[in-house]
Symmetry: C2
Subunit: 350 residues, 2 copies
């Protein structure tokens, strides 16, 4: 297979970890006789610094032409506490999601047995946790109209959803549930929000098309509790953009291994793959960033193109590294290996 992959490694540790994924994808291409080409463009704070725009036109063009996008991370603290900043790195990512129509963000969260002692949760709580979160990614309060009064003393953000927006991501979540433990939990705040009541109505109406899937509902505040109290009760979670941001980040730490978690953002035509960790500026350039989340994102990319055996090979190599504790310091108490070394071990194993 020929794949032209747009690489947007972005800020902070983004480039370091993405380089390891490229190494792994190249090893896979060699082994299975595919041709993967990689083309780099700027995004995020670095793109602002160099071009004034967090998503330069050249970057967007690359994403529109490429078969898939491999994304690193964005964000730089110099933009965070400056409410007056007119351009922010995050705008690049949000604009990209919108431009590519990436309406579904998919995040698997799994407790790795060998890492149970890294979890902040007790072993009996976290054990057997295996969740996939489907977060709506191009609607809701992220993209609704924003206002700021002229005197700067009042502001607003509009959250809106349509039936179509809800259905397309819900179909993916129902299908995922069918291929897993057949349970789908819609997380909303239907006791307060009109949009949540629409979600509940639309998703409930769809359930008859998926008679083998058991659908249930959880208010987001309760979901935030249940994720800590009993995460293994969940199979597939479906939720709107903002709740998905919060709940999926909460979920990401319960396994003690945020450096291992990958995500795919999918639309009708385009797909983007990224580790869920951020740009982690404090770690930049130190060779301590865990490349595994990025590498597992590359595995999700392979899955997306039906290269299931290739994806499995990557996952096996990663599990081998974890089992042998060939890990960066976040997962290895005895000092650990460098980002580069972990990548090379996984490459060699492939």
């Amino acid at each position: 297979m020929n794949l032209h992959i747009g690489v947007l490694s972005g800020d902070g540790i983004g480039p370091e970890v993405t380089n390891q994924s490229i190494k792994i994808l190249t090893a896979i291409a060699d082994k299975y006789q595919h041709t993967f080409t990689f083309q780099h463009e700027l995004v995020g704070a670095i793109a602002i610094d160099e071009t004034g725009n967090p998503l330069p036109q050249k970057t967007l063009n690359l994403c529109l032409e490429a078969d898939a996008v491999l994304f690193g991370a964005i964000g730089n603290p110099k933009y965070d506490n400056n409410p007056a900043a007119k351009v922010r790195p995050e705008q690049g990512l949000l604009a990209l999601r919108k431009a590519l129509g990436l309406f579904a963000n998919i995040r698997p969260v799994k407790a790795y047995d060998t890492l149970l002692d890294k979890s902040p949760l007790k072993k009996h709580i976290i054990q057997d946790t295996d969740i996939v979160i489907y977060r709506e990614l191009t609607g809701g309060i992220y993209f609704g109209e924003k206002t700021l009064s002229e005197d700067g003393t009042a502001a607003s953000d509009l959250c809106s959803y349509s039936k179509t927006e809800i259905e397309r991501v819900a179909h993916l979540a129902f299908k995922a549930a069918q291929s897993r433990r057949k349970k789908l939990t819609l997380v909303d705040k239907a006791n307060v929000l009109e949009t949540s009541r629409l979600w509940r109505k639309v998703v409930t109406a769809m359930a008859s098309q998926y008679p083998d899937v058991e659908l249930d509902f959880l208010f987001v505040d309760n979901a935030a509790m249940q994720m800590v109290l009993n995460p293994s009760q969940f199979d597939v979670i479906l939720t709107e953009n903002m709740f998905g941001d919060i709940i999926s980040d909460e979920a990401s730490v319960i396994g003690g291994s945020i450096g291992l978690l990958a995500s795919a953002s999918i639309g009708e035509k385009y797909a983007l793959f990224e580790p869920i960790h951020g740009s982690y500026p404090q770690a930049t350039g130190k060779g301590i960033a865990n490349p595994i989340a990025s590498i597992l994102s590359a595995a999700m990319l392979l899955d997306h193109f039906g290269l299931l055996e290739e994806a499995e090979t990557v996952r096996d190599a990663v599990e081998r590294a974890i089992d042998l504790e060939i890990c960066t310091p976040d997962l290895n108490a005895h000092g650990g290996y460098s980002t580069e070394n972990v990548g090379t071990f996984i490459e060699d194993f492939i």
Copy 2:
């Protein structure tokens, strides 16, 4: 002191636990020679069932006349999965918050040493956690305009905030920080929301009035992670209504003792005290509901009127009960005591 207390015990386990608080407040009145009178009215699902209105006028009148409101819980599953329901129990609580101008919801979260093994978190993670959350309670997306298109295929909720709304709750949070460990964390999503940028700007501008308080900022997704990874880093958390709902519920379970957590909702003129647990319909009438959260809410009521010694007496009695394991089944592995028995033990100890 004479206090006329409006009692809205509401639904589910609300009445059972509130009865214990009344018993405790009565014991305090006897011991310290105060006169506390209690007047009951309906709220929530039971008010809908009996009057068609989750907040009948008589109930609102009582709250407007009373010195304080002691609240139980509201909610009944028969209303939850019915998006078409025109009246919902929650509307009673929301209308009450608005009518009484209860703009600040205050929730202390503490890890009790004797209960550390009840926590889903590991001991070294949860130990020494002592947080107070200030949640804005009468603004934001809860109270903004809601729309539903005529054909029912599109919906919206507006989140809006003004400088004044932010300042009044922020002043309370800054003051709380001054009387504690002098750290205030604003939780927002300033990288996406205009309202969050307003929060950051307004709160930052206020910081010079509280030079002894260290102010920092956390995006809500990161806050949801930090609450699990390292809750003891927090002192006072300040946040808007919806984020406060989610983060404070998440925080409430980390100590393993949601049955112990109280809250106060404060405005310029009125104040309402309630346990943070819900109506817990499955437990209703079984005598297994933990009355301590409600009793500690009553202690917050005493604090509010400057009856600090009285409040301390209640807290001491509660800690005594916990230390001696005179607890309901949620906290007592050996079967436990009934709601009534726990209340009576605390009463006797006073």
